[in-house]
Amino acid sequence: MKELLTIEVNGERHEVAIEKSDSLARVLRDRLGMTATKRGCDTGGCGCCTVLVDGRAVYSCMTFAKAVGERKVTTVEGLVREGELDPLQQAFIDADAVQCGYCTCGMMMAARQLLDENPDPSEDEIRKGISGNLCRCTGYSKIVDAIQLAAAAGRPA
């Protein structure tokens, strides 16, 4: 039995018919067609589906869509502002942190929370901040570089 859900994603309110058991990832990808949020495992193990809910990084595969309530969801689709890439997006390109790129969107959302809360993180803090997100291509080195680059871009010169 489907029911109607109102959800705010990237500043826009959507009314969408969902199954009670739908995860946030299912709603974003399959009901709203926002495919930046990837599904890698559906068991909260890989982090590909990471999105922000009220600024906090969550695994959207482990979050019931209904449980989001009035909170604000941010996905990679919401990172681009007026045609400008988020500093993290630009840094991931510049640092060559994107190989297959399947983990990239989730990784950037975890990093977004980290930088929002701690604009000048140490390398250890960065590594801890993305430790809930797996990458199988890069060995994380260039991802750490990218987050450092984005942090530097966010600092006043």
């Binding site: 495919t35 390109i93 060559d96 297959c100 790129g101 080195s141």
Partner: protein, 777 residues
């Protein structure tokens, strides 16, 4: 040559990076078609059983279910799912069917449904009633070859799917000549590639029954061939669309899976597009790196010179041979036997059926298992005899200019193992390391290394493996170039490499070259993205296509410029008579003229052109590369071992590799760093574990299957690339990818030995094993 290169060797922006950081719309997992149905696959709970009956009545009645498949509905055509060999290659074992009346491993597909949603498909599976007659099962390959063991296949007596042997010299005489003989047994475990994007495909059939399919596989033409064979239809009735990129592969997406034929059959049955996607648990029971147990006996002189080596390798291929019959050969040839210069050698390999899950391709393809055994024992030899470990390696390997040890008629044109070892030792501080276990305190540090002296840049010279590649390069009037290539970018940068090759050859900026739509109907054949081959092989063919386009450009330019085509050159986007810059004409003018009408009316009146210059500026090539040059590499690792908990921290890594030519420095480092992550997981933590009684996989998600996160990874991974400029390679290239995963496990094992003086010979080297060896458990 290097001074003239403008694009090759620079960190151009990956052409797909912007797309991927803004959401990556074009992953296969995001592909969908209107009216698409979703697949569910019912899998066997038994490791070995005969199917007595399957009742699908209730499932078919469920609203939303559109079709059900059982073994009776699928062609019973045995084949090998391995993509890179012809469907009936004699070197491979043909024992794979889409669904059979006998199940031989937990997870083998038994039935499938197509339904309007994944949820309905899952619900339908629960309504299918299967009656099994359970049979005895065997899970250990050495038990499986023993007397009285349950037999899996009629065609395989003693459950041996393949037995191979290579011999050189006189083994007995060699051991008689030895001053010392070392013996050991080295065991590796089953691991998964852990690509992040699950395996997925969408298939649709047209009204004539022709299949169009997009899949996350690493090879478009292999999918066409295998799918056509499995379904019993002509190859031309399958069109495979190449995805722009896929979410990782590492060899784990080299096989045709069960999903592609099942989705295709369901599409034929329903007349609607059908999507099939693995759950992560399904991925974990598909295509893994085969465990190999290596028995190794080596005879050496007092000075460390090899006199004899006997190697026996037992590979557990699970219930189907799949890659197992080829992995064992590559493991023998390139993993153990030929990397080392030993005059008297025998290698015997056995690929053995068990009721375990199937194996598959995984980056390194048999060499990580071999290198772990050989380089662990080499370390033991040096330690026992007090030999310099670097001199010992150099004494027993090859030299630049030697005949290629495996491929008749080829030479090791470029071969710089000595530089790899010396530079790696220098940068890592290897020469200053202490004696094994000599550190004080609870946490002890150690440095170790491993090298791998011989590997591939593709498959030229191998029996039964495709190696040709092709591309079409078309120049547009706006000065851009379109490249059609069936080479799949699996994350390691094939799209970047191909654009660099074309941009370099045609003197364009890298962002003026685009990889465009390709499918098997329209693109020239390309072998899979595997075997460290794409740069060397697809790079060679794509460069040839660009050269052909350039030739065509010069023909048109010759007519426009009233010059001889052979006298022209292309530089900085301009065509000019060689040595006379005053004749330079922008290439876009030539392309425009070639594409323009015969007489074009302009503001200045009619502008006549000539017939000779007309026609699209386009070039095509399809060819095999000239050789199969060998890269070589050495890796030095510093670890810290906690002697109370057995935990290992990897602190520093220095990797040195004879690469031929670096195309893209950052991507090359990325291969090393990512390869180390996989190799470190293999060495220390990754292990697919089965219930010993039922054969069911117990590590079906990332909570139970542990791979290194950013926290466990070392802070410092240094890459040293020795650019030997291979004369047969495109712009001097050889290869990189797989070597990066071959050497880490023995390097880490040897570093742990140096730290605490104990050697673990079965992977993964867990804290428990270290504590047991230290006598603390």
């Amino acid at each position: 040559m290097s001074t003239e290169l403008k694009i090759i060797g620079t960190n151009v922006t990956r052409p797909d990076a912007h797309d991927k950081v803004t959401g990556g719309k074009n992953y296969p997992v995001n592909f969908s078609l209107p009216g698409m149905l979703h697949t569910g696959i019912l899998r066997s709970p038994y490791a070995h059983a005969k199917i007595v009956s399957i009742d699908t009545t209730e499932a078919e009645k469920l609203p939303g279910v559109k079709a059900v498949l059982t073994p009776d509905d699928v062609p019973q055509r045995p084949f090998t799912p391995v993509y890179f060999v012809p469907a009936q290659a004699r070197s491979m074992v043909q024992d794979f069917v889409i669904m059979s009346d006998t199940v031989r491993w937990v997870g083998q597909p038994v039935a499938a449904v197509a339904a309007v949603s994944p949820e309905v498909a899952a619900q339908a599976l629960e309504l299918i009633d299967v009656e099994y007659d359970e049979l005895p099962a065997v899970f250990d390959p050495e038990e499986a070859v023993g007397e009285g063991a349950p037999r899996l296949w009629e065609h395989a007596e003693d459950n041996i799917a393949k037995h191979a042997k290579f011999e050189a010299g006189d083994l007995e005489a060699g051991f008689a000549e030895a001053d010392h003989v070392f013996e050991g047994c080295y065991q590796t475990q089953r691991v998964h590639t852990c690509y992040m994007e699950p395996r997925v495909c969408v298939a649709e059939a047209d009204s004539r029954g022709r299949i169009k399919i997009l899949s996350s596989m690493q090879h478009s033409f292999g999918l066409r061939e295998k799918l056509a064979f499995a379904l019993g239809i002509p190859e031309s009735d399958v069109n495979v669309i190449k995805p722009d990129y896929i979410g990782g592969g590492f060899g784990g997406k080299l096989d045709i899976g069960f999903i592609e034929p099942i989705a295709s059959l369901l599409a034929l049955k329903t007349g609607r597009p059908v999507r099939a996607q693995h759950t992560r648990a399904e991925d974990f029971i598909s295509t893994t790196r085969n465990p190999i147990k290596v028995y190794l006996k080596t005879g050496v002189k007092n000075d460390g010179t090899f006199t004899a080596r006997y190697i026996k390798s037992v590979l557990d291929c699970g219930a189907h041979a799949t890659h197992g019959s080829e992995v064992i050969m590559v493991h023998g040839l390139y993993g153990t036997f030929f990397p080392w210069n030993c005059p008297n050698q025998t290698w015997e390999g056995y690929t053995v059926y068990t009721n375990n899950m199937i194996g598959g391709g995984y980056r390194g393809y048999g060499a990580p298992q071999g290198c772990f055994a050989v380089e662990s024992q080499n370390d033991e030899i040096c330690e026992k005899l007090g030999l310099d470990p670097i001199e010992f390696r150099l004494k027993n390997t090859w030299r630049e200019g030697d005949p290629h040890p495996v491929l008749p008629g080829h030479e090791l044109n470029t071969y710089r193992l000595q530089e790899c070892l010396e530079q790696g030792a220098e940068r890592s501080g290897f020469r200053n390391r202490g004696k094994a276990g000599s550190g004080s305190g609870i946490r002890k540090r150690g440095i170790g290394f491993a090298c791998h002296p011989l590997w591939v840049s593709g498959c030229v010279g191998f029996p039964d493996i495709y190696e040709h590649a092709g591309a079409t390069v078309k120049l547009n009037r706006d000065g851009t170039a379109d490249v059609v290539s069936a080479c799949v970018d699996i994350g390691s940068g094939q799209n970047t490499m191909l654009t660099q090759v074309v941009a370099e050859e045609l003197s364009l900026a890298a962002d003026r070259v685009r990889l465009v739509y390709a499918d098997t109907d329209t693109a020239p054949f390309d072998a899979p993205t595997h075997a460290s081959r794409a740069t060397y092989s697809a790079g060679t063919a794509t460069r040839a296509a660009a050269v052909a386009a350039k030739k065509r450009l010069f023909q048109a330019a010759a007519a426009v410029m009233e010059a001889n085509a052979d006298d022209l050159e292309l530089r900085d986007g301009k065509v000019a008579v060689k040595g006379d810059p005053s004749t330079a004409v922008p290439m876009t003018d030539i392309i425009e003229r070639a594409e323009s009408p015969f007489i074009q009316t302009t503001e200045d009146g009619p502008a006549p052109t000539t017939l000779a210059e007309k026609g699209t500026i386009i070039g095509t090539a399809s060819m095999a590369p000239p050789s199969n040059p060998s890269p070589c590499a050495a890796e030095f690792v510093e670890v810290e071992v906690d002697t109370e908990t057995g935990e290992v921290d990897v602190l520093n890594v220095v990797y040195a590799h004879d690469i031929g030519r670096v195309f893209h420095p950052k991507s090359a480092e990325g291969q090393v760093e990512g390869g180390f992550q996989q190799g470190m997981g293999y060495a220390l933590m990754e292990h697919i574990v089965f219930d010993p009684d039922t054969g069911a996989c117990l590590t079906g998600d990332f909570l139970d299957y542990k791979m290194p996160t950013a926290v466990e990874m070392p802070r410092n991974i240094e890459s040293i690339f020795i650019e030997s400029i291979e004369p047969t390679g495109p712009f001097g290239a050889k290869s990189l990818s797989e070597m990066c995963i071959i050497v880490p496990a023995p390097a880490i094992a040897n570093a742990i030995y140096n730290a605490v003086g104990v050697r673990v010979k079965d992977l993964p080297i867990t804290p428990e094993k270290i504590l047991r060896e230290l006598g603390r458990l």
